[in-house]
Every structure is written in structure tokens, then in C-alpha cells.
């Protein structure tokens, strides 16, 4: 994603914020963006979004070409955007990434309709189940291999994941 497109996206987010739009979906070619603002009046985490998009491999400058599956929902943070940006920069390297050990379908809960194993902001223990990856009717419980706070979920429930794909970011404590 080039700087112009980043700028456009930031402007779009500002526009959505000003107009108090709670959810927004964009599909343009292979690019899919989904924004969801948790609470009215709070800023989305621009810094996280920027880092996220900047981190994606870009085949050509234009048109925008990103694998749709790797763009997760962007959740609003509880802290003001500027503060979050600084915090995000500082904590990035220290975040622990939980990855999928198998190819399969990601499920956030033990069965449809049941509460999720964990939510963003939850404190989890080492060995605690975070999600299930299913393939061929084999359910693989994915555990956190660190104790800390779940700060990010990279995939949607029901979405296919590849071997080694990022599932969660946990801030170790």
C-alpha cells in the first residue's frame, strides 16, 4: 500500500468517525477493508491500522492488491489514538504471536453460539485454549504458550487459515 492510499484510508476513517458510522466495508478488486468502531465517540486505532497495512506484502503499487483474508477487523482502542500509537510502536516487538500449527478452519468458540474462548483484552494463562482450528473433523485446541493479555485477533471465526498463519497477538506479562 503506497503513501497516497494510506492517506486516503486515514481520511476515510476520519470521515466515518465524524459521521459516527459504526461499521464500514470496502471491496475494490482484491482489496477488502472492514472497519468496526466499538463505541460512539472513541477513535479507531489509526496507528495499528497503518502498521497492519504497511506490513502487508505489496506486489505492485497500483491497483491495491492484498490477500483479503489477512485483513482483520480493526477494533477501536480504549485509549486515545495518539497515545495508542505511541504504545503500539513500543510494544510491537514485545508482542507474542500465536500461529496456527495446521491448515484448517478457525473457530473462536467450542460450538456455534457458545461464548468465545477469549476476547481482546482478556488476560490468559500459559496453556489456556484460545481457539480451535478444525480440519477433516479433527479439532485442534490452540493454546497460548505465554501468559498475558490478548491484544489482537488476526482472523475471523469460520475463516480458513494456513499453516503458520498468525492467529493472536498476546502481550506477555
Amino acid at each position: 500500500m503506497n503513501p497516497e492510499e494510506m492517506k486516503e484510508l486515514k481520511e476515510l476513517i476520519e470521515f466515518l468517525k465524524e459521521n459516527k458510522i459504526g461499521e464500514f466495508d470496502l471491496e475494490r478488486g482484491d482489496l477488502k477493508v472492514r472497519l468496526k468502531f466499538a463505541q460512539e465517540g472513541q477513535s479507531p486505532d489509526l496507528a495499528s491500522l497503518a502498521r497492519l497495512l504497511a506490513a502487508q506484502p505489496v506486489a505492485a503499487p497500483a491497483p491495491i492488491h492484498l490477500p483479503p483474508a489477512v485483513l482483520p477487523e480493526v477494533y477501536a482502542q480504549q485509549t486515545p489514538a495518539a497515545e495508542a500509537a505511541k504504545a503500539a510502536e513500543a510494544e510491537d516487538a514485545s508482542l507474542h504471536i500465536v500461529k496456527s500449527p495446521i491448515v484448517g478452519t478457525f473457530y473462536e468458540s467450542p460450538s456455534p453460539g457458545a461464548p468465545a474462548f477469549c476476547k481482546i483484552g482478556d488476560q490468559v494463562e500459559n496453556g489456556q485454549v484460545l481457539c480451535i482450528i478444525e480440519a477433516m473433523k479433527l479439532m485442534n485446541e490452540i493454546e497460548s504458550d505465554v501468559a498475558g493479555e490478548v491484544v489482537k485477533r488476526f482472523v475471523q471465526s469460520g475463516q480458513p487459515v494456513e499453516y503458520g498463519q498468525q492467529l493472536f497477538a498476546v502481550r506477555p506479562r
Binding site: K99, P101, I102, V103, G104, T105, S111, P112, G113, E134, A135, M136, K137, L138, M139, N140, E141, E143, D145, G158, Q159, P160, Y163
Partner: protein, 273 residues
């Protein structure tokens, strides 16, 4: 209970069962319950308490038998075979998927040996007679990134059910309904465990997993009418329909759709009428 009662007439004889499994990892590791919530839930809990490879938990009745997703497994007392096998194979989590396919083939072979019935296999491992399902298999795994800690294969087989509740009558059957006679759950259990032992031995052979996987793919093609040319609907977030077009090298089902070739990773493949 009188001896004419169906339940006591088909009681398990643990001693005989152990004898017949003498050459397998399962001998002396059979744990029987008159009634239990779910044999797999129990097995997973036992695995956390360091229960050994080869433990088998089976029950006359499950009060909370589970299927995939939100599905339950109807497990009335004394009529079905409900069991879970605990394994600790030295494999990577990715390779453990083969156990799911191998378990279906093991039950297929065991049912044929005991009853002479040739079942169909609906990918990945449902067993059907005609269009009706009589055996479901759900595997659960606990793994580190590079190795399996433990694997629990849960198997439910409808053996002696004379009928089914209204809500599953159209999709379920039992060996009794198909053949008009009752089969011994004990014989079936012994046969499935023997077949499973053979599958495990090949999958965990020191010479590597390739020989086993090639063989599993070949047998599935032979024994299942679902692998090629079947018009199906795939359930999921965005369901789609198409025609099955064989398995890929990992054992995933390929489906030719209007939008190209798709690969099914998890269950929920149903016949499209």
C-alpha cells in the same frame, strides 16, 4: 434386568475383550462406563492427567455425546457403541490429520469384517449405508507447534437401534435397521480396535508416513462414492456447491465449482439433490 433385556444380552465381557486385543496397544487399557457424559470429554481430561497411549474409554450410554460444531450424537443406553481412543503419536500436528481419515477406514473395514456390509464413506470419515449415517467420528487434538501431545479419536456407531427420534430419522440408520438383526457391540469394538492398531502402526512407522498416506488416499478412492463425481453442497460461512474431484496430496477434498476448483478443509459436505 432380565436376560431377555436387550441391554444385558449385549453386555461387554472385559476379560474376553482384553484377550482378543492381546497383540494391540489397547490390551489392559479398556475403561468401561455404564453411563458417561461424553467418552471423548473424559478421554481429553484423562490425557491431561497423563493417561497413557492406547487407553480406550467406552460406555453403554452417553448423556452428552458430541458431534461436530453444535451437533450432538444421540447415544441411548445399550444400543450403540460409543468409545474414545487416546493416542500419543510422535507426529507433527499436520500429520495427525491422517488419523481422522484412517479412523474412518478402520471402522469401514471392521464393519465389513463383522457384518459383511460394505459401507460408504462421506469425506472425511462419516460412514453411511445408502444415504443414512450410522457412524460418526470426531477427533480432538492437543498439540504444541511441532508435536502432538495427545489425540483422542471419538467414535459412535449405531448398532442395535430399532428406530430413531423424529429429528434424525431421515439421516440416521443402525446396523440393525439395515440388516434386520442385532450385532454384538463387543465384536465390533474388538474389530475396530484391531483395524485401528494396524492403521496406527503404518502411520507411525519408522520408515516415514509417506507409504501410509499414499495407501490411505488410494483406499478412500476405492471405498467412497463421495471422492469423485458427486454433486455436493459444502456448509460453512459462505456455503457453495459443486462436484467432487478427488483428494489432494494432503487428503483434502477438491470440488469443482462454477468459480473454479475449491479445497474443503473441514467437514460439512452434503449431497446435493
Amino acid at each position: 434386568m432380565s436376560t431377555h433385556d436387550g441391554i444385558s444380552a449385549d453386555a461387554f465381557d472385559l476379560h474376553a475383550l482384553n484377550e482378543s486385543l492381546a497383540r494391540t496397544r489397547f490390551a489392559g487399557k479398556l475403561h468401561h462406563f455404564a453411563s458417561i457424559g461424553s467418552t471423548s470429554t473424559h478421554a481429553m481430561a484423562q490425557a491431561d492427567e497423563a493417561a497413557p497411549d492406547g487407553d480406550v474409554y467406552f460406555a453403554d450410554e452417553q448423556t452428552a455425546g458430541r458431534g461436530r460444531g453444535a451437533h450432538s450424537w444421540s447415544s441411548p443406553a445399550g444400543t450403540g457403541l460409543y468409545f474414545s481412543v487416546l493416542l500419543r503419536p510422535r507426529l507433527s500436528p499436520g500429520d495427525a490429520l491422517w488419523f481422522s481419515l484412517a479412523a474412518g477406514l478402520a471402522v469401514h473395514a471392521a464393519v465389513e469384517r463383522v457384518t459383511s456390509l460394505r459401507a460408504d464413506i462421506r469425506w472425511p470419515n462419516d460412514l453411511l449405508l445408502g444415504k443414512h449415517k450410522f457412524c460418526g467420528i470426531l477427533t480432538e487434538m492437543n498439540a504444541e507447534v511441532t508435536r502432538v501431545r495427545h489425540l483422542v479419536i471419538g467414535i459412535g456407531i449405531n448398532v442395535r437401534q430399532p428406530e430413531f427420534p423424529e429429528d434424525i430419522r431421515k439421516i440416521a440408520t443402525s446396523l440393525r435397521l439395515e440388516t434386520g438383526r442385532d450385532w454384538s457391540r463387543q465384536d465390533l469394538l474388538a474389530a475396530v480396535l484391531s483395524q485401528l492398531e494396524a492403521e496406527i502402526a503404518v502411520l507411525t512407522s519408522p520408515s516415514g508416513i509417506e507409504e501410509a498416506t499414499t495407501n490411505i488416499l488410494k483406499r478412500l478412492e476405492q471405498k467412497s462414492s463421495w471422492i469423485r463425481g458427486k454433486r455436493v453442497f459444502v456448509e460453512g460461512m459462505e456455503g457453495y456447491e459443486g462436484v467432487t474431484e478427488g483428494l489432494d496430496q494432503r487428503g483434502f477434498l477438491r470440488i469443482r465449482t462454477a468459480k473454479g476448483l475449491k479445497t474443503v478443509l473441514s467437514g460439512g459436505v452434503r449431497e446435493q439433490s
